[in-house]
Symmetry: C2
Subunit: 228 residues, 2 copies
Amino acid sequence: MDYKEFKKIYEVSNRDISREVYRNNKGIILIKKEKTAVNNLEKIFNAVFNISYKKGFQAMSMRALSQKTGMSLGSLYAYFKGKEDLQDIIQIQGWSIIKKDLEKVLKSHNNPWERLKAVIKAHVFLSELFRPWFYFTFMEARNIKAVKSMEDHTQKILTNILVEGEKQGVFKPGNHELTASMIKAMQQEWYLKRWKYKKLNISVDQFAGHLMGLVEAFCLAPGQEGCA
Amino acid sequence: MDYKEFKKIYEVSNRDISREVYRNNKGIILIKKEKTAVNNLEKIFNAVFNISYKKGFQAMSMRALSQKTGMSLGSLYAYFKGKEDLQDIIQIQGWSIIKKDLEKVLKSHNNPWERLKAVIKAHVFLSELFRPWFYFTFMEARNIKAVKSMEDHTQKILTNILVEGEKQGVFKPGNHELTASMIKAMQQEWYLKRWKYKKLNISVDQFAGHLMGLVEAFCLAPGQEGCA
DNA sequence: TAAAAAAAAGAACGAACGTTCATATTTAAA
DNA sequence: TTTAAATATGAACGTTCGTTCTTTTTTTTA
């Protein structure tokens, strides 16, 4: 599966995400009309990603956000209780995207190697599709407890596949927890250093392919190459 | 070489770094006595790393820095022109540490595989020794031009070793630029996610060893394993 | 078209920020 | 010990921040 296929199957847009945020926060958001709210939420998120890309969320002023969105300061506060809440909303939604996706892919394969490939690739493709969400979630989530537990969660998924695969003789023995960590680090590379790959003219498919090659060389037991 | 040996050979302390900063900025720093200046600079750097670890440098107030260092607000401004300059000083010094080290290790090996191993390991060990500097430099250096060119520089070093090694038949053919990127991503993992490895009880030697195993499996040409 | 509801606007407020500077304290020199 | 230089202090300043709230504008309903 390449990125093009993935996008067709996945069928979720930034607008869908904004709609989800609206419905999850109807109690807080003071706007009644869904269309208006979703429209403005999309504007807000885009502006936040844009402004905080260079200097971080803390350095983004509400006045800058007002200017970038074209909304007044007063209007903005109809969509969140305060600046910190805005950050929380984005983070929570970001993790939700990642989590839901991983669980969907997990169910769609049984063979450990196929499953591992699918999980790794899906994550890379998803981070391409929602790069600003991924970038923001990583960069603004420093020492937060919820973030650590989510990192643990997604890492455990990879670890479990590797452990299960070793039992079946598909993967070499090894410290699977460490391997899972390394895989995660390489996945993150894609959305953290976009400028680099743009410059080198490397596509997301090339990147994912290279990552799969690395994992195959290190993890796959001898004589299993036919499965690749 | 393990971390213990590395530390013995490297022989640079946080105090040495502070002294270097003082000597490089004698024009700006208003304090005449080296001992006083170096002492306070060390206090300042430690406090900056401590406070900005959780919420970032932007969120650190000068008053918080004053409290943590035990120095008055006025005193602090004898060591840097302004808050932004303080950040620049730390970043520049951070990159300087990385650059000097890499160049030293480069000269100490000729065989490509030995050289690759030495460069990768040295970087991981160095990031362990000066983790706060590495963490700060990565997290606070977002879209800055100087940072990108430094990232390019260190990546090019890895790429060149891989290309040279392929010519000599030591390494498999492949997209070496991409491989270098992946290696860098895994190196960064060590200082960005310290909490994870502390929790898993994984030492820097274990981590470096695992990374070397991955690189060996992916890069080393068949029949070269004897060198490892 | 008139009344009611919803949404947008932006001036105003207090708090917190980075920075300065006149003064006090400490250290070194005479 | 006295004098001069170096260093430390923290109140005060102007600015900018996040946030609120009354008013205006727009949209919907009757």
